[in-house]
Symmetry: C2
Subunit: 767 residues, 2 copies
C-alpha cells in the first residue's frame, strides 16, 4: 500500500468525521432529539430546554467540545460515577504515553527506517508504506540501539504513568466510599446457598443463623423470591383469564359458570375455579394447599447489618464447613442488583461458569471464518481470482485503493458488532448478581476476543494461516509475530481509521437512538418513552480503547506511522466520551472503578508483548545485542505489575477496615445511623414499582369484600401498568413485602382482582 492510498483512506474518514460531528452539533440543538442527546441530563437534572426557533440552531458549533474539555473530574464523577473516571483516565493515560511515543518514534525511529537501506527514494506520497517500517532496516544494522532506547523510555514512562493513575483511582475509590454514606450495599450481605431444613420457610433459617453467629451486628433480612416462577404464575393467570373470558361469554349465569371448575388455573397452577363463586375461606385453603408451591422463596436472602464493618466481616468469612452453603458476599447496590440471576442456585454457578467459558471459546474460534475471509479481501489479487467479474471495476486505481485500504476493516467492523451482545449474553448466563459484574465480565470477554481475533488472528491470517493448514511446521511465536507485524501495519492503520474514528462519530451521533427515536415519534406516532435512558456500554468501549493501546504499543517502534492516527483517535475519544458521559448516558450502577485493574493488566500485557515482538524482530535482523536488551524490561514490567498487585489491587477487592469503622462511628455519633437503618428496610425491592400496585390492589380487595358488585380497581390497574419501568416484565405482582402472610394476601388479591375484572367484562389488564 502506498502512502497516497493511506491518505485517501484517512481523507475519507476525516471527511466523514467532520460531516458527522457538524451534523451532531446541529442535531443536538433540535428539541426533537433532545432525549437522544441529553438523556441523562433530562432524567437527572429535570431541565427543560427552550424551544424557540432561532437560526443558531441550524449552524454547526463547537461549544460542546469546549464544554466537554472544560468539565472537571468532580463534575464527571458526580454525573457518571467512578467507572467513568476510570475510563477517562484510561484515555488520559493513552494520550500521554502515545504523545511521547509519537514524538520519539516519528523523530527518532522514522528516519532510521526511511534511510535504513540505500535505495532510490521516490516522492513521499508514492512511497510504499513498508519503507517506513522496520522492514526497511538492514540486517545487522547498527542503528537498532535507537529502537532499544525508545522501547526502554516508553516502557519506563508507561509504568510510571500507570502507577500515578492506579494511585489516583485507588484514592478516588476510597473517597467515593466515604462520600456515599447512604449506600445500602455497604450494610448488606447477599447470602446464597441457604440449605433446606425442616422449617417451612428459609426466612426463619436465615434469622436463626445470623442471630446465632452474627448477633452483635445482625439487623434483619429479606428473602429473595424466584422471579421466574412469579412470571410463570402471571402468564398462567393471563391464559386462564382468557379462557374464563371465553367461558363466561358462552355461559352467562352463575350456575353455569360453576362448570369452569375444571379449567387449569393461573394462580393455582392446578385445577381451580373462578374465585368469586367460592366462599373466601375456601379460596384461602385452595391457595394454601396446592397453588402455593408456585411462589417459592429461593435459597438466597439479603441480610442487613447494623454497621458497614459488620457487613464486611460477615461477607468475608467462610460461614460453615460446606463452602457452597451460606455463601456470603457484599450485596450490590440496590439499582445494581441483577434480579433475574439472584435466585439461581449457588451450586449451579460453577457449571454455568465452565459452560459459558466453553461457549465463548467456541464462539471465538468460529469467528475466525469471516475474519480470514476479510483478510483475503485485503489482498487485491485474491479478489481478482475469486471474483473475476469485478476485474473491470478493480482495475480503476481509486476503487482498488478503497478495497485494499478500507473495505476489509468495514466488514470486520460490522461482524464485530455482534460480539458484545453475544458476550453479554454469555456473561448473563454465567450468573452474576449485579449489572456491573455482568458488564465487567462481558468487558473481559470482549477484550480477550478482540486481542485474539483482531490482533493475533489478523497477524496469523495475514501470513501464516495458509501454511498452518498445509503443513504442521510453524516458527517460534516471537519470530512469527515479528515477521508479520510490520507487514500488517496497513491493516492496523485502516482499522484505527474505520473502527476507531468512524465508531467514535457513530457513538457521538447515537445512530441507533436517533433512528429509534425517529421511528417511535414520527412513524409509529407513539408517545415518547421518557424513562428509558441507556447506561454507558463499558463492555464495548473499554476493550476497544485497550485494543488500540495494544496496537499502539506493539507497532510503535516497528511501524511508527500508526501513532499519529492513534493519537487523533484518543484525542477524539477523550472529547466524545466525556461529552456522552455528561449528556447521554445515565449512571444507574457503578462498579467503583473496577475497570481500571482490567485496563492496567491489559497495558502490562501489551508492554510485555511489545518486548517479545521486538525480541523476535531484532533476532530476525541478526542483532543479538538489541534482542538481548529487550529481556530486562520484561522482568522490570512483571516486577512492576507484582508491585501494583500488592500495593493497589487489594483496595479494589475489599474496603479498608479503618475507613469503614471511622465512617460507622461518625454516623453513630451524628445520629444518622437510625435514619440509615430505617432506609435499609425499603432499599432492596425485588418488584419495586409493583409495590404501589399491590397496595392499591389490597385496598381494592377490601372494597370488594364489602361490595363485590363494583369494579373500582380498573383505573388503578391501567395506571400502574404504565408507571412501571420499561424493560421490566409487565406482570410481576407486588410481592416486595416479605412476610409470607402478606404475600398470601397478595395472591388472594390478584384472584379477587380477576374476579372483579370478569364481572365488569373489562379485559384491560389482559392486554
Amino acid at each position: 500500500m502506498k502512502i497516497s492510498a493511506l491518505m485517501t483512506s484517512a481523507g475519507i474518514n476525516i471527511g466523514i468525521c467532520v460531516l458527522l460531528w457538524s451534523l451532531y452539533s446541529v442535531l443536538r440543538k433540535q428539541p426533537a432529539f433532545v432525549r437522544v442527546y441529553f438523556g441523562r441530563r433530562i432524567a437527572e437534572e429535570n431541565r427543560l430546554l427552550r424551544e424557540a426557533f432561532i437560526l443558531e440552531r441550524f449552524v454547526p458549533s463547537t461549544g460542546w467540545i469546549v464544554k466537554a474539555l472544560q468539565c472537571t473530574e468532580e463534575d464527571l464523577l458526580a454525573a457518571a460515577g467512578l467507572d467513568a473516571i476510570a475510563f477517562n483516565r484510561i484515555l488520559v493515560f493513552s494520550i500521554r504515553i502515545f504523545s511521547l511515543a509519537a514524538i520519539l518514534c516519528l523523530f527518532g525511529i522514522l528516519p532510521v527506517h526511511y534511510f535504513g537501506r540505500k535505495t532510490h527514494h521516490l516522492e513521499i506520497p508514492s512511497e510504499q508504506l513498508h519503507m517506513f517500517t522496520v522492514q526497511n532496516v538492514e540486517v545487522q544494522s547498527r542503528w537498532l540501539w535507537v529502537h532499544s532506547l525508545v522501547l526502554y523510555i516508553i516502557s519506563g514512562v508507561a509504568c510510571f504513568l500507570l502507577h500515578i493513575e492506579y494511585k489516583h483511582i485507588a484514592r478516588l475509590r476510597l473517597l467515593h466510599l466515604k462520600r456515599t454514606t447512604l449506600n445500602p450495599g455497604q450494610f448488606t450481605v447477599l447470602v446464597r446457598g441457604i440449605p433446606k431444613t425442616a422449617n417451612e420457610s428459609c426466612s426463619s433459617d436465615v434469622d436463626d443463623f445470623f442471630t446465632k453467629y452474627h448477633a452483635s451486628s445482625y439487623l434483619f433480612h429479606q428473602v429473595v423470591y424466584k422471579a421466574g416462577k412469579v412470571q410463570k404464575i402471571m402468564t398462567g393467570a393471563k391464559k386462564a383469564c382468557g379462557k374464563l373470558d371465553h367461558s363466561t361469554s358462552t355461559d352467562t349465569t352463575l350456575d353455569q359458570s360453576r362448570k369452569a371448575i375444571t379449567y387449569p388455573c393461573c394462580v393455582c397452577g392446578a385445577s381451580s375455579n373462578s374465585f368469586q363463586l367460592l366462599p373466601t375461606d375456601e379460596v384461602a385453603k385452595n391457595i394454601d394447599n396446592e397453588s402455593w408451591n408456585y411462589l417459592q422463596e429461593c435459597a438466597a436472602a439479603f441480610v442487613f447489618f447494623k454497621t458497614r464493618y459488620g457487613a464486611l466481616l460477615a461477607s468475608q468469612a467462610l460461614q460453615t464447613s460446606n463452602p457452597t452453603k451460606w455463601v456470603t458476599d457484599l450485596a450490590p447496590e440496590p439499582d445494581d442488583v441483577y434480579w433475574s440471576n439472584i435466585w439461581l442456585p449457588y451450586k449451579q454457578l460453577w457449571i454455568r461458569r465452565i459452560a459459558t467459558l466453553l461457549g465463548s471459546l467456541v464462539f471465538s474460534v468460529l469467528f475466525l471464518l469471516p475474519v480470514t475471509f476479510i483478510q483475503g479481501l485485503s489482498q487485491l489479487d485474491q479478489v481478482h481470482r475469486k471474483l473475476p467479474f469485478l476485474n473491470g471495476l478493480l482495475k480503476q486505481p481509486y476503487i482498488s485503493q478503497i478495497i485494499t485500504g478500507y473495505l476489509p476493516s468495514v466488514i470486520l467492523l460490522l461482524f464485530l458488532y455482534t460480539v458484545s451482545p453475544i458476550m453479554i449474553l454469555f456473561s448473563t448466563l454465567e450468573g452474576p448478581t449485579s449489572h456491573s459484574e455482568r458488564k465487567r465480565s462481558a468487558c473481559s470477554k470482549v477484550l480477550y476476543f478482540f486481542i485474539w481475533n483482531v490482533f493475533f488472528v489478523n497477524l496469523a491470517s495475514g501470513a501464516v494461516i495458509s501454511q498452518l493448514n498445509s503443513s504442521s511446521t510453524t516458527k517460534d511465536i516471537a519470530v512469527q509475530l515479528a515477521g508479520v507485524i510490520p507487514g500488517q501495519t496497513t491493516f492496523f492503520i485502516t482499522y484505527v481509521l474505520t473502527s476507531g474514528w468512524a465508531s467514535l462519530s457513530s457513538e457521538l451521533m447515537q445512530l441507533f437512538g436517533l433512528i429509534y427515536n425517529f421511528i417511535i415519534k414520527y412513524v409509529l406516532r407513539m408517545k415518547e418513552d421518557t424513562a428509558f435512558v441507556p447506561t454507558f456500554p463499558y463492555h464495548t468501549e473499554v476493550p476497544k480503547v485497550m485494543l488500540f493501546g495494544l496496537l499502539g504499543f506493539s507497532c510503535s517502534v516497528l511501524a511508527p506511522l500508526i501513532l499519529p492516527f492513534l493519537l487523533v483517535y484518543f484525542f477524539l475519544g477523550y472529547v466524545v466520551y466525556r461529552n456522552q458521559l455528561l449528556n447521554v448516558y445515565r449512571m444507574r450502577y457503578d462498579s467503583g472503578g473496577l475497570y481500571w485493574p482490567i485496563a492496567h493488566n491489559t497495558v502490562m500485557f501489551s508492554l510485555v508483548l511489545t518486548q517479545i515482538i521486538c525480541f523476535g524482530v531484532f533476532g530476525l535482523k541478526k542483532s543479538p545485542v538489541a534482542a538481548g536488551f529487550t529481556i530486562p524490561p520484561i522482568f522490570f514490567i512483571l516486577s512492576f505489575n507484582q508491585y501494583c498487585r500488592t500495593r493497589f489491587l487489594p483496595l479494589f477487592k475489599t474496603f479498608p477496615t479503618q475507613d469503614l469503622i471511622d465512617l460507622d462511628r461518625e454516623d453513630e455519633r451524628s445520629g444518622r445511623m437510625e435514619h440509615i437503618h430505617h432506609g435499609l428496610r425499603s432499599a432492596y425491592r425485588q418488584f419495586p414499582d409493583e409495590d404501589i400496585k399491590l397496595e392499591k390492589i389490597l385496598t381494592v380487595r377490601n372494597d370488594e369484600d364489602q361490595d363485590e358488585g363494583r369494579s373500582s380497581s380498573e383505573p388503578n390497574g391501567e395506571q400502574t401498568c404504565k408507571e412501571q419501568e420499561p424493560g421490566r416484565d409487565l406482570c410481576h405482582p407486588t410481592l416486595e413485602g416479605l412476610p409470607v402472610s402478606r404475600l398470601r394476601d397478595s395472591v388472594r388479591s390478584i384472584a379477587f382482582l380477576w374476579t372483579a375484572k370478569k364481572r365488569s367484562g373489562d379485559s384491560a389488564l389482559m392486554n
Copy 2:
C-alpha cells in the same frame, strides 16, 4: 532395550531392596542406632529400650512391616499430624488408581500392543520393550477404542477417588481444628508492615491501633525484634571480648585497662569501654544513648485476641487504605514460626518473591546440562563414540545392559539430590513466616522442577533437543510428546527402579542419620545429640510421589509395562513412609493438610496431560475418532477441578465461622478461656531457651552488684549453651521479655556477665 535387560535391572534393584530392608530390620533392633530409627518415639514417648544381648536382635524380621500396616489413621494423626495423613492418602489414592490401571492395561491393552502387528514374535525375554508399547500398534488400527475406553475409566475413577480423598481430608482438617483447642495460633494474628510514627516504639502504635479498631476482641500484643541485629550484637560482643582478653593479658592493672576505651564495642557498636571500670549509671547512659540503636523493634508484632473468631476476622480484613501497611495474617503455631524471617520488612517481600522465582527458573534451565549429558549416556552408541577407550568393556553384554538400563538414572538421581536443598534455600529467601509455609513453597518448586526436568526435558532430550538446536522447526507439542513417550518408557521404568525403589530403601535405612550417628559416637566420641530429631521432608517426598503418579498416568495406556513397577513402588512407599512417620520423624509443625491441594492439582494436571498425549498418539496413528474421544474427558476433568475448587478449597484457606464460634462459646462456657488467655502470654517466644539463661544472668547480676569479685555465673553460662536447641544460633541473648525496660536490663546484664568472665580469666562463652 530388551525385556531381559529390564529384568536384570529389576533384579539388581530387588536384590538391593531385600538386602537393605533386611539390614534395616536388624539395625533397628540395635540399641546403638535407636536414636536414628526411633527418634520420634524417644523424643515424644520417652520410652527406654531394653539393651539385653539376644539372638533375636541379629535376625531379620518383618514385624515392623505388620506394625506399619496395622497402625490406624488415628494413631498416625496423633503421631505425625494432618500433613502425614494427607501424604498417606496420596499413597493410598495412587495404589488404588494404579491397581485398577494395571489390571485394565495389562489385561486389556498389553495384548493389543503385543499382537498389534503381524510379526514373528521371539521368546518374551528376548523381545524388545517397544513391542509392548503403542509403537507396535498399526496405523489406523481398529483396536484403539480399547485405549479410549481404558482412558475414560481411569479418568473417571481417578476423579471419583480424588473426590473421596478431598472430602475426607477436608473433614479431618475441621476435626483437627476442633480438637486442638489450645492452639495459640488460632488466637493470634501476625501483623506486619507497622508504619513508623513519631512514637518512640511501635509497641504503643500497635496498642493504639488495635484498641481503636478491634476493641471488642483485642487482648494484648508482643512486638518482634530484629533477630539479625541481636546476632550482630552478640558476634560483636565476642570479638570485643577477644580483644579485651588481649588487652587485659598485656595490661593487668585497672588503670591501664582504661586504655581499652577506644576499642570498637560489641554491645554498643560505637566506641565503648570495659564496663566494670565505669560506674553503673554511666554504663546505663552509654547504652541508652548510642548502643540502643542496635536492638530495634521491627515493624511486626503478634497480636492476641480474646476469641478465635476475633482473630480470624482481624486477619482477613484489609486494615487501612495502604495494603502494604498493617498487614494481618493468622499467626503460625508457635513451633512453626520461622523467626529468622518474621522481622523482614513486608515491603521487601514482593521483590524477594520475584527474585526467587527468577532464581528457580534460572536454576531449572541450567539443570538441563547434566540431564542432557545423562540422557546421552543411555544411548550406548553415544558412549562408544565419546569414550572410545571403554569399547572393550562396553562390548560385554552385561555391562552394556547395566549402562543402558541403570547408570543414567543413578547419575540423574545424584544430581537431583542437590535440588531440594537449593529450592528450600530459595523458599527461605522468599520470606515465609512459618516453617510449614517454607516447606510447602519448596515442595511446589521441587514439584515444578521435577515435572519439567525429569518428565518434559527427558522426553525432549530423548528425541528433539538436537533438532531444536539445529533448526527452528518443531512439531506440535502434543504430537511431539506422543512420538517420544513410548520410546522413553525404558528410561522411565529404570527411573522408577532406581529413584523410586532404591530411594525408598535409602529412606528406610536413614543412611545419612546412620553415618552421622556413627561418626559422632564412635569416631569423634562426642556425646550423642539427644534433642535433634528431624522433621519429615515433605518438600522432597511429595514431589517424588507426584512425579511417579504423572509417569504412571501418562504411560499407563501407551506403555503399560511401567505399571507393575510403579505399583510395587507405591506399596513399598506406603509401608516405608508409615513406618518412618511413626518412628523416625518428629512433627514439630503441621500445615493442616495443605499438601493435599498441591497433590490434587498435580493429579488433575497429569490426567489432562495424559489426554493431550493420547490425542497426539491417536493422531499419529491416524485414528481421528479415537483422537476426538480424548477431548471430552479434558473438559470433564477441568469441570471436576472447578467443582473441587468451589467445594473444598476454601476450607484449606480459612476456617469456618460457625465452627470457630461454637468452639469459642464452648470454651467460654466451660471456663477454659481464662486458661487459654493466660497461656497466650508465654506462647510466642522469639528467643525461647535463652529466657532461662537471662533469668539466671539477671540473678547473677544482682549477686555481682553486691559482690563483684565472685564469678558465680560461669556454670550457668556453660549449661545454657548446651541446653539450647541445635540448629539455632548459639548467641541469642534472652530478649523474650518484651518491655523495653527489661531488655535494657538484659543488655546491661550481658555487659556485666562479660565483666565477670574477664575477671575470672575464663573464656567458656567464647568457644
